[in-house]
Structure formats: structure tokens, C-alpha cells
Amino acid sequence: MELLVTRDAATAERSHWLLLHCVAVFAFLYLPIAILVLYSFNGEGVGGFPPHRLTLDWYRTLFADEPIWDSVLNSLEVALAAMAISLAFGVPAALALDRAQFPGKALFRRLVLLPLILPGIITGLSLLMLFNVAGMKLSLLTIALGHGTALISVATTEVFAGLQKLDRAQEEASLDLGANYWQTFWRITVPNLKLPIIGAALLIFTLSLDEIAVSFFLIGRDNTLPLEIWGRLRRGITPEINAVSTVIFGFSLIAIVLWYRLRMRGEGATDAGIEIVEVAEGGQA
């Protein structure tokens, strides 16, 4: 009995340490963000701890700050364009990787996925050189092209994963029921890929929205939001930056939660599918 008690105490102590460890890790991860958010409400500017005289003034300044809003609009334009470009190229690439057999397929796959691991600085620099050679003026268009190409790999991987989970027998069933290949693609394949495509779009959108390395090389006269913020930081930090960062953080959080929930829904559906197959095979045995 005594032994049991001591062991319980030891376990309790260990779990205390574990809890402390967890708190430390999460603090390390999220304390900076918490401080950023907190100081966006601080009446005393960025200095001084603890912050006091909480105010919404910085948000008021922010909403009156036209260059910031211009850059936000620029960023949204770039993100939407990047989304369209990467999906337009990434989805067919995923289809090709999943279905087609062609020489050099392995190489093709690596090439498509390469930008995912390539440092942004390399992508940015090489795109800059390309645009220079092509004689293109740097503008929002070049940034959109840059983001679009760099994020094709994201669209491809997301959609490819969705295709791998898709039961091909469904497409055969559709053909069997009289739908031709084109009808089968739109009525069966695409609806089944809806979640991966929306997920990829959300992910590309958020990644493009806060991308800085590639944008830095390709920027023309119009700033994107991250570059605008970065530019202002060089002139000294104001809580207005905190305020805009807080807003971005909020939006990113929403996008990520949305993306995650979509993904979970997709996985849940396929898990059920796997269960059915398992039950089926169990029955056979």
C-alpha cells in the first residue's frame, strides 16, 4: 500500500513537470504573438511594461491609414491571382501524376514538388533574373506570377492526396452507367476533389498573403502588405503595426481553422470508407 502511494506521488510529480514543460513550449511559441496583440491596445506606444491605458486608438489610426489599405488590397489581388495560377497548373499536374503513365514521370513529380523545399530567396532571385531577361517591368503582376509558380506544388500535393484517396471504382461505375469521360470528370471526380481543392486554395491564399522572400525580389512600385509593414519597421515600430498584424493574425487563424476542418471532414469521410472496406474483407475471410 505504501509503495503504491509513493508511486502515485512520483507519477503526480512527473506529470507536474510535464505540464510545466508544455506550458514553457507553448509560451515560447505564442507569447510573442500574445504580446504583439496586447501592445496593439497599449496607449503608451510600444514601450513600457506592463502596458496600461488600453485603447483602440491604434486601430482607428490603422483604419484611416490609406497606404496600409492600398497594400492590403494589393496583397489580396496577388493572393487571388496566385491562387488561380497555382490551381490552374497544380490540379492538372496532380491528375497527371495520379493517372497518366509517361516517361520521366518520377522526374516530373520531383520538379513539381521542388519549389516547396526551395528557399524563397532562390525562387525570388531566379524569377527576378527571368523577368529581367524577358524585359518585364516589376509590378504586382510579377509578384502574382512568382507566388503562383512557387505555390503550384502546394496545389499539386493537396489535390494529389485527394486523388489517391478517391476510389477509382466510382469513376468506372459512372462510365458503366452511361456517363462519358468528360461527364464522369465533372460529376464524380471533381465533386470528390472539392475538399482538397478548397483546402489547397485556402492554403495558397494564406501563404501568398504573408509571403515576403519572393515578393521582396519582385516588388515594383506597389507594396504588398508584408512589404509595407517591413518598410515601416525600418522607420521605427508603432503600435499601428501591431494592430495590423493582429488583424492579419485573426484572418490567418480563421483561414487555417477552416482549412483544417475541411481536411478533417475529408479524412473522416475516407476513414468511414476504409472501415467499410475492412468490414467487407473481414466478411470475405
Binding site: A169, L175, N180
Partner: protein, 370 residues
């Protein structure tokens, strides 16, 4: 077990021999995947309204044959005719053939109702007609109550019914079923065998049913095509395939049997079990002798005239409900499996067995294939 199917098998064979042309003609079909030969020289007719089962072990090529008929695979050589049409040149969506897939392949994003209406909607039938036919089809498989459910919310047996309705609603000339019952548990499976058979009789559409389960094949089919390593061993009615197996493989695959290797000389077959007159060429011959065709002669009892008799010792007993299978060792290289109903034989007892020479069916030796 054959009682319900006899009348139909008779009509099926009758339609075969009569002037009415078969619905589907498979001629010298072969399929190779690279160097791997999956199907070899398959020729087969399917009559209008016939229930034909393609029976074979896994890897025998039965699913490939079905997929060629459906149009998901193309044959390497040979022809496929439906009436006057060369089926082989048509894409799957032009063939008046529908399939029930092994795992049903229902569309998860559509409701039961939409699944069943898919083919009609793609064919651009008027919505009122679609609604009426879908309702009718769902009623036929007793799934009306689940019309609005998504496939993931219904059980495996129910999914199977929906898959059936989805295929039949298009009124195909031929329905292909790829082991549709293999996913169900034993009780439901037996129930579905009966239901499927009566549904087929009701709609009058030809069925090609693929299975690895010989009992299922016997219960449901008008005719069975037994496939082995990509070649047809025998195509016949369940009765015929059981009582007159063409090859040793068929005899062993369908039910239990004893294979007797005998030496034929001048119209007399001789083996360890005894000798009996046969009509066969001289040389080594194989005979299939079903366990139920061997009788146990009670001690002191008299056998029938012309019966072949052999003595042996009971070595093994297996209880099968109404009957019992016993293994009787007659000599070092002959053991006979005998079906008895008495259960009176004791282990290690020496008993006398008898069989009629007419029950020993001459079978071809099946060539060894990988």
C-alpha cells in the same frame, strides 16, 4: 439445392440450342498483361434471360473477363459480340451492360436516390420519368425508406441493394455482378442469394455473376462456367457440372470427390479398389467418384449385382449435420471419402464399401498450370 434451378436450366439450355441467337457471344478471347497471360482462348455464349456464373479461384481471371465485357479492359485478341454488334470496340458508356461492383462503388456525395437516378440523368431522361423509375427500382430492392440517405449512412447489405437498383434502373440487356455478396456475412449472404435469383427471374435480364464460392454458384446459376488459370474448364448446368465433371479439377472444385487412377485394358478399368467395365481407350484413366455414391455394406449384408466392392478401415469422421463424411483407408495408396447418413460406423472399424461402375465418371486429367 438444384430443385429450384432445374426448370430454368432446362429452358436455358433449350434457348441455347434453339434458333434464338445468344445475347452475348465471347469468341477466342485472350488477355495478356505484358508477358503474363491472364485469359486464354475463352469462348462462351450467354442466352437471353440466363443466369450464368463465372466460377473460379482468385487469380483465375474471372474478374478480368468481367471487366472486358464491361469495357474497363480491352481484350488482347478475340471477339465480343452482343447481337450483331461488336462490343469490344465500344467504350463502357455505350454498352447496354451494367455492373454491380464488388464494393458497390456508390457515389458518396450523392443520396441513394441520386445514385440510382445517375444513369437516367446522364442519359437526359425527363425528370418525371427519372423520379418514377427510381422509385420503382428502390421499391424493387426494398430501399424506398432510405431514398434520401447518403451511402455512408446505410449498411453493407443496403448498399448492395442500392448498387443493384442503380444498375437495373437503366434496363441493361446484361447485368454483370462482381462478387457482390462476398462482403456480406453468411446469413445475409444466403438471403441475398435467394433474393437476387428471384429478382433476376422477375426482371428477365441476363446476369453474369462472378464468384469464388462454388456453393453460391450451384444455388443460383442456370449454368456455371468454371475458370481455371485463365482457361475454361467446363461450362454446364450445376447438375451436369456436379454429376458429369469434365476434368479432375472440376470434380474436386465442385463438392467432394474421390479421384481414382485406373489402368484401362480392353474395356476393363483396374485400380486398387477393384475392376469394372468402361468405354475408354486403353491406358491410364482418371475417375471421379462422389462420396454419396459409395455405400457402406452392413456386416453380413449383400451388395448389389455388378457393384465394385472394397474393404477398408475408418480413419477419420467429420460430422456435417444430416450426413457424415468418413475417410476409409482401403490400402496404402487408396483412401475413399464416403458420405453416410447413419453415423453407425465406429473409428478404426473395418467395413465393406460398394459403388456402382456407372457412378465412376471418367474425367480428363487437368494439366498442371501455374
Amino acid at each position: 439445392m438444384g430443385l429450384t434451378t432445374t426448370s430454368l436450366s432446362a429452358t436455358a439450355t433449350a434457348t441455347n440450342s434453339s434458333a434464338k441467337p445468344p445475347l452475348l457471344r465471347v469468341r477466342n478471347l485472350a488477355k495478356r498483361f505484358g508477358k503474363n497471360v491472364v485469359l486464354r482462348d475463352i469462348s462462351l455464349d450467354v442466352a437471353e434471360g440466363e443466369f450464368l456464373t463465372i466460377l473460379g479461384e482468385s487469380g483465375s481471371g474471372k474478374t478480368t473477363l468481367l471487366r472486358i465485357i464491361a469495357g474497363f479492359e480491352s481484350a488482347s485478341s478475340g471477339e465480343l459480340w452482343m447481337g450483331e454488334e461488336q462490343l469490344g470496340r465500344q467504350p463502357p458508356y455505350r454498352r447496354r451492360v451494367n455492373t454491380v461492383f464488388q464494393h458497390y462503388a456508390l457515389f458518396p456525395h450523392l443520396t441513394v436516390e441520386q445514385n440510382v437516378g445517375y444513369g437516367l440523368r446522364v442519359a437526359r431522361r425527363p425528370e418525371t420519368e427519372i423520379a418514377a423509375r427510381v422509385e420503382d427500382a428502390l421499391a424493387k430492392v426494398k430501399m424506398t425508406a432510405h431514398a434520401k440517405a447518403k451511402p455512408s449512412k446505410i449498411s453493407g447489405g443496403q448498399q448492395q441493394r442500392v448498387a443493384l437498383a442503380r444498375a437495373l434502373v437503366n434496363r441493361p440487356r446484361l447485368l454483370l455482378l462482381d462478387e457482390p455478396l462476398s462482403a456480406l456475412d453468411a446469413n445475409l449472404r444466403r438471403q441475398m442469394q435467394v433474393e437476387l435469383k428471384s429478382l433476376q427471374r422477375e426482371v428477365g435480364i441476363s446476369f453474369i455473376f462472378v464468384t469464388h464460392d462454388q456453393e453460391e454458384a450451384m444455388v443460383m446459376s442456370d449454368r456455371i462456367a468454371l475458370l481455371r488459370s485463365g482457361e475454361l474448364e467446363q461450362v454446364a448446368t450445376p447438375r451436369e457440372i456436379y454429376s458429369q465433371p469434365a476434368t479432375a479439377y472440376v470434380a474436386q472444385f465442385i463438392g467432394h470427390t474421390n479421384l481414382l487412377k485406373a489402368d484401362v485394358q480392353g474395356g476393363i478399368a483396374r485400380c486398387v479398389a477393384g475392376a469394372w467395365p468402361v468405354e475408354a481407350a486403353d491406358g491410364v484413366a482418371l475417375f471421379s467418384l462422389r462420396p454419396e455414391n459409395i455405400r457402406v455394406i452392413s456386416p453380413g449384408g449383400v451388395g448389389t449385382a455388378g457393384g465394385v466392392r472394397v474393404r477398408g478401415r475408418v480413419r477419420h469422421q467429420a460430422f456435417h449435420g444430416a450426413t457424415e463424411l468418413i475417410r476409409v483407408e482401403c490400402s496404402e495408396n487408396l483412401a475413399l471419402v464416403v458420405r453416410t447418413s447413419s453415423g453407425a460406423e465406429a473409428m478404426e472399424e473395418e467395413i465393406e464399401l460398394e459403388f456402382s461402375p456407372t457412378d465412376a465418371v471418367l474425367v480428363r486429367e487437368s494439366a498442371e498450370r501455374i
